[in-house]
């Protein structure tokens, strides 16, 4: 993601600006983490409840972004376009589940990997045929400027909007899963699928619903992140792996785990990207410091996952097998 690097400022300037930079990057990390959570929440539910490895989850994120781009253009309004893209992507996800993925639940993980990998190829090409390889999606003009949060601290108002929406959706999801009957079924399914089935939960409908919910969350993340990143074919592949890292760190099937994991990964990735080059420049030549920082930030999230798996193989929050 594009970050406001401190330019070619001398050590003096860096030092005086450092607390602003820190707050700014912490907010960026929060913003990225919340969007990761939206992706990871759907993935962890599909994985936890249906025991299904869905590599095509990233394709739904891409689909959401393309829907948003096309609908924003068609309606002329950013809000209307994004709000329409969410049900459109949810519908696409549910159709996919009904038509195809449903037949894969009973199969082994390898078959699921092969089938959903095939789906990535198919969806990528279909999007390319319909819309081309990339599309524009600009942030709304009203939000393109910065706001002054504290004296001297300017922050992108669009990113603030993302943080707000991210928290709102997370709360909504929490309410849905923890407080409603539907959520109770979802938790029962994640905890023990056979038992939930035996207790009369309509697993078929539940699976379709969960899949649609996951797709809708993907669309929110895809639509909101796209003005900062880019709407292009293949955008889902890399973020998919990061989302997998999040759910493994958090514990598969656990929404709470996905939330904690996503914020952790978002913070480490974003802060590492900015702060490590500065830290390295203290004792390394600058061209090396600027290259090593982002690399080590990227590596550190995988390192975190490896360490978590080593000490807590079930992830930070265990969902399966708990009441």
């Amino acid at each position: 993601m594009p970050l406001n690097t401190p330019g070619d400022g001398s050590g003096q300037v860096l030092f005086t600006l450092s607390w602003i930079l820190l707050v700014e990057q912490a907010l960026n990390g929060l913003q990225f983490g919340l969007m990761l959570f939206l992706l990871a929440a759907g993935l962890t539910l599909v994985f936890g409840i249906m025991d299904m490895i869905n590599l095509a989850h990233g394709s739904l994120y891409m689909l959401g972004a393309f829907f948003a781009s096309a609908l924003v253009e068609a309606t002329g309004s950013f809000v209307a376009g994004v709000l329409l893209a969410v049900p459109a992507t949810a519908l696409a996800g549910m159709l996919l589940e009904r038509a195809l993925l449903r037949t894969l639940y009973a199969r082994d993980h390898l078959s699921q990997v092969l089938a959903t990998f095939a789906l990535i190829l198919i969806l990528n090409e279909l999007v390319r045929i319909v819309w081309g390889s990339d599309r524009p999606l600009a942030m709304p003009a009203a939000l393109s400027g910065p706001v002054e949060l504290l004296p001297g601290l300017y922050y992108s108002s669009y990113r603030l909007l993302i943080i707000g929406v991210g928290f709102a959706v997370a709360l909504l999801l929490h309410w849905l899963v923890a407080r409603t009957r539907l959520g109770m079924w979802v938790r029962a399914g994640a905890s023990n699928r056979e038992m939930a089935l035996a207790m009369g939960v309509d697993i078929g409908m539940l699976f379709t619903f969960v899949f649609g919910l996951g797709a809708a969350l993907c669309a929110v993340a895809g639509a909101l992140l796209s003005p900062l990143l880019a709407v292009q074919v293949g955008m889902g592949e890399n973020i998919l792996i990061v989302a997998f890292v999040v759910i493994v760190i958090g514990g598969i099937g656990s929404i709470r785990g996905a939330f904690v994991g996503a914020l952790l990964v978002g913070a480490i990735d974003t802060l590492g990207r900015t702060l490590l080059p500065i830290a390295f420049s203290a004792f390394l030549p600058p061209q090396f410091a600027s290259a090593a920082g982002p690399a080590i930030a990227s590596i550190s999230i995988y390192l975190l996952m490896a360490v978590v798996l080593f000490f807590r193989p079930q992830g930070l929050f265990q969902a399966r097998g708990q009441g």
Partner: protein, 327 residues
């Protein structure tokens, strides 16, 4: 115990060998030398997929990070050549050794986990190498390294010649397949399969599960490294893309498509996947062109549909499908 020589069992490999030996000669006769180079690439991917099949298919260890070993081999061979080491006899064994060392270190950690967690931790290690290769300027960073030439093999074999390279790759693949065949029939191979089928029971009869699995993982990694070295020498190019997770995914797809835990699984998968891509991109299919004029630009759509059909209709891979029809 002596076994009757089984003509039927040898007929398939024999026909495959005759076909593989004759193929480049026929291609050259028709002036299609480009396809000899493509065929070499298929052989190299077949080698990489076969090495993964040992780990994934025979050993039941679903590694989602095999690109780490292929990529490590590719980088070692490239960097040695870049540093002026011309001999393939140094570069290729070195690639295998480094890949084996990485497999030993990562395997020792990964094999303490099971199931999905093993999948993710192997992926994690491969991703670490991917970002490492991206960041090191001396290795070409994200642009990679272009090699001036292929290494020298000696014995009058010129690897720059496409035909010679093809036969070298073919010989290596044949040796690997024979080794895998012998390995599968050995005490070690039976132990590895027993652990896949029932780990608790294997442990119960006193097999050293962790050590045996680690050995299997390291052998797979080493052969993967050799495939990587060949890949870099063949294309005279290496970049972090060889370490990207989609590369691990592609190798996994080849194994699943070809047949998990079957001797020819990796080869069949590589031939089918790469062959299909190449076929759709290069040959004009009349009725399809009439329907969709620019279909050649969207070959991965067709590849995706074929893969999906393979999952739905040939659940045990191409090798398993053939057997199911025979039996």
């Amino acid at each position: 115990m002596m076994r009757e020589p089984n003509v039927k069992a040898w007929l398939g490999p024999l026909l495959a060998a005759v076909f593989a030996i004759a193929l480049p000669l026929a291609l050259r006769a028709f002036g299609q030398v480009f396809y000899v180079s493509f065929a070499s690439q298929v052989l190299i991917y077949a080698l990489a997929a076969t090495s993964l099949n040992l780990v994934l298919g025979y050993g039941g260890m679903v590694s989602f990070g095999h690109a780490a070993f292929v990529g490590a081999g590719a980088y070692v061979a490239s960097l040695l050549l870049h540093a002026g080491v011309d001999s393939a006899w140094i570069a290729w064994p070195a690639a295998m050794a480094v890949a084996a060392a990485i497999a030993l270190a990562t395997g020792a950690i990964s094999l303490r986990t099971r199931g999905v967690y093993f999948i993710m931790i192997t992926l994690a290690f491969a991703q670490m190498l991917f970002y490492l290769a991206n960041s090191i300027k001396a290795w070409g960073g994200d642009e990679g390294l272009t090699l001036a030439r292929r290494p020298a093999l000696g014995f009058g074999v010129d690897l720059a010649d496409e035909l010679s390279f093809y036969y070298v790759a073919l010989a290596i693949l044949a040796a690997a397949l024979y080794a895998l065949h012998r390995l599968a029939g050995s005490r070690f191979g039976h132990a590895v399969v027993a652990m896949r089928e029932n780990e608790t029971r294997a442990e119960g009869v006193g097999l050293p599960v962790f050590r045996t699995r680690l050995a299997c993982f390291v052998i797979g990694g080493a052969v993967g490294g050799l495939a990587g070295a060949l890949l870099a020498c063949h294309g005279k190019y290496v970049s972090p893309n060889v370490l990207h997770w989609t590369q691990s995914g592609t190798l996994m797809i080849m194994v699943i498509l070809g047949g998990v835990g079957r001797l020819w699984g990796g080869v069949l998968g590589a031939v089918a996947l790469l062959g299909l891509e190449r076929f759709l991109a290069d040959f004009r299919i009349g009725w399809l062109a009439a329907l969709v004029p620019n279909y050649a630009q969207h070959t991965s759509l067709a590849v995706g549909v074929v893969l999906l059909a393979a999952v739905l209709f040939a659940p045990r891979g191409l090798a398993g499908w053939r057997r199911a029809r025979d039996g």
